[in-house]
Symmetry: C3
Subunit: 316 residues, 3 copies
């Protein structure tokens, strides 16, 4: 692996290597060895063309625990045309000696462009691009689910035979997209559920089943239900039913939650809209993995940075 | 002490422990031992829901001198409801492993909420909440005054018998509030002076005298006069007399300053409105402690962080 | 040297000392000794009253490679009067123990004011003040040109006999201003070229020739052509011809570039307006030094910080 751009191109072995390395990282954190010297002298730039405090802080915590030098770069509202600006920025980062770049960008494909155009010779980590991919989110979800299923015996394992139901605005969700590829690569079965307007025919090529009937999907007793966040700014679009209607049709309500087996994990990438896509009873139950997901995010990002940058350090 | 939320709940022994530890911190800085390893591997998050460059920089300098890893988080203009947003943020910080949180928030009680709701298991330091409290400001004021009164023999001492006059917009001042509690806990006598509109009857429960007559209060020859900053945005409220009227009635003018004993310290939390609440002659005199206050702020914040976090490191 | 405010007051020996030290810094970076302990325990504040991501990141990378503690301070939109605000800020930085201040300010002379008023006892590095000076940019330009002319034998040398043509909006360019002084101090000959509205008689006192005829200036076969960036926001001023007219008259077009000797370096401070002041053929040619300039910026800033701060560490 030279970059981490998408989960669709990760092989099963690569994905399991990242998850196993994240287990090592988590273990050091649990033993209170908070600071590892692995990336001392390595400069990581967090290049955020879009606000995302949660993801930026998670990466920044991961980078600092690996002893990297961190430079934050919030590039909003640039008046320059997007392509030119990205090239100029990339060349600047290359020239100042950035050893790795974590990029968040509102345009699909910006991280790929950064990786492929040769403007910068450093590992690129996609921290979310448009409605396209968010690979570290999918990796932390897979890590969390693997731990729930296999506990301390997780290492080396995939998610073979697991069944995950992903619910909500599939059309606009980079979380859903990255998860579909990674979960199926790891051997899981994925069912996508949402309103017809948000679950388009165009996703027929994905390795996932689709359904407009949440109750039917939950009746199978899946290993995990992943509720996507509803973006408030989309609620006024014609895509969307009314809020109350949405909660009734597609939300993980109290009643739906009580109907699930106790072994079903309740996942959410956060931050949650309680009472909309998820009821508080579900969000705060022992089955909820919401906070584990956030905590595991640091371990998974440490693993990805470590694997991508340790190669760099020797190679340059 | 698990948190530093308010000076009203600090015991005299706790307050003196913080001030004495701040003396130790100041001593290392004066011996040019700028960097202490005390908080190596400890992650401190500066969570600022309100702009405050001076306070943020002072905390950041304190954290870096203790070798902590620092993550700055400026959370402005969030559209989510305040309570929910704070909970979500707190849980995120907990999950990424924050070891201490310095919080500035426009709403009274936000730091307490963070400390008490169990969302995060880390020391919380209140860096100013609404018109409520600003405990590290009061501690640095007490530290500065103790040094002025007792010099090198400060250690272990309180402020017994000292008399401090605090002047200005008492009603809206978290600095005044935190100082009243701390100064009296340390044995001092406090007189609050201001226009009737800004010095309400509601403060009768405070352990302080009140007066509408600045000249009478100064005639006692207090050990310190603390001039509060007038917020420009409040000057158009009906609370306020005209600017020139304010300076004449409640400002530390040249004439008033010349009438004070040379032993009276002139304090101000900064930044000053010269010519409004304080004349330049007073601000720049040897009696002025304005710059000492800023410098002492770093030592006091180092002390508070050290005392709160060193417990954490062992306990977790 | 106590500060780095302007290139007009740098002696030839001082300038060469900085360039030679930058060679040492570049050598450690090329040997992959990325992190030097030189400024451990030294706090550097980047005080930016004006946005400039490129310059801020370059300084921040330089500071972190020298192991300094870095505090970023973006002070925009302050409502206080400029002078007072700068004084208050400077005194605050002094009081919290800042060991060096890198300042960018929209007003000419702000760095000088900071250095001369005694508000703070620390080296001040001018990172751009108004239309006045940008000395580290000129130093990195001189460093880049010296390397192009003398290669590995650069150390100790100036730019004697070299001829540099600077083209564009001379009137508003701090880059041009700082370069004129430094290049001539190092023995080079400078020709300034631009439209009459942007190349005023007032610069007669500068040690440079002026011309309104770009083709005539290029016909001399200079050692370097430095194209200045056209600020989009100025294009609507009456100073300016229409965009296409500007490119035709004052741009380094394909045709003009092809007419230059291969030994002529093509310089630009970045970011470039391709097709406006510079054609892509010129910008991307082997003669272009644009990316070298950015990379050399880190070495030159490491050198300046090292030279100014190492004195401080011993002296205080």
């Amino acid at each position: 692996m030279k970059h981490l751009l998408s989960t669709s191109t990760l092989s099963r072995d690569e994905a399991i290597l990242i998850l196993d390395t994240a287990e090592d990282m988590a273990a050091t954190q649990e033993r209170e060895v908070k600071k590892l010297p692995a990336l001392r002298g390595v400069t990581v730039v967090n290049l955020f063309f879009e606000d995302s405090t949660r993801t930026r802080i998670s990466f920044e915590a991961a980078e600092k625990r690996l002893s990297a030098d961190v430079i934050n770069f919030a590039a909003k509202g640039s008046s320059v045309s997007k392509g030119e600006s990205l090239k100029d920025t990339a060349q600047t980062l290359h020239a100042i000696g950035a050893d790795a770049v974590v990029i968040r960008h509102p345009s699909t494909g910006a991280p790929q462009m950064l990786a492929e155009r040769g403007w910068i010779d450093a590992p690129i980590l996609n921290a979310g691009d448009g409605c396209h991919e968010h690979p570290t989110q999918a990796l932390l979800d897979a890590f969390t689910l693997r731990r729930r299923l296999h506990g301390v015996a997780s290492r080396g394992k995939g998610l073979d035979g697991a069944h995950i139901v992903i619910v909500g605005d599939i059309l606009h969700s980079r979380v859903a997209r990255s998860n579909v590829w990674l979960l199926t690569t790891l051997g899981a079965r994925v069912t996508l559920v949402g309103p017809p307007t948000l679950l388009p025919a165009a996703i027929d090529g994905w390795p996932a089943e689709t359904s407009y009937d949440l109750d039917a999907a939950l009746a199978e007793g899946p290993d995990a239900v992943m509720m996507l966040r509803i973006q408030a700014e989309r609620m006024h679009d014609s895509f969307f039913p009314h809020t109350r209607e949405y909660a009734r049709m597609w939300g993980l309500t109290d009643a739906r939650f009580r109907g699930l087996p106790e072994s079903t994990s309740i996942m959410h990438p956060g931050p949650m809209n309680r009472g909309l896509e998820i009821a508080s009873a579900a969000a705060d139950s022992p089955q909820s993995t919401v906070l584990e997901q956030v905590a595991n995010g640091v371990s998974v990002r440490m693993a990805a940075l470590y694997l991508l940058c340790s190669g760099v350090k020797e190679g340059r």
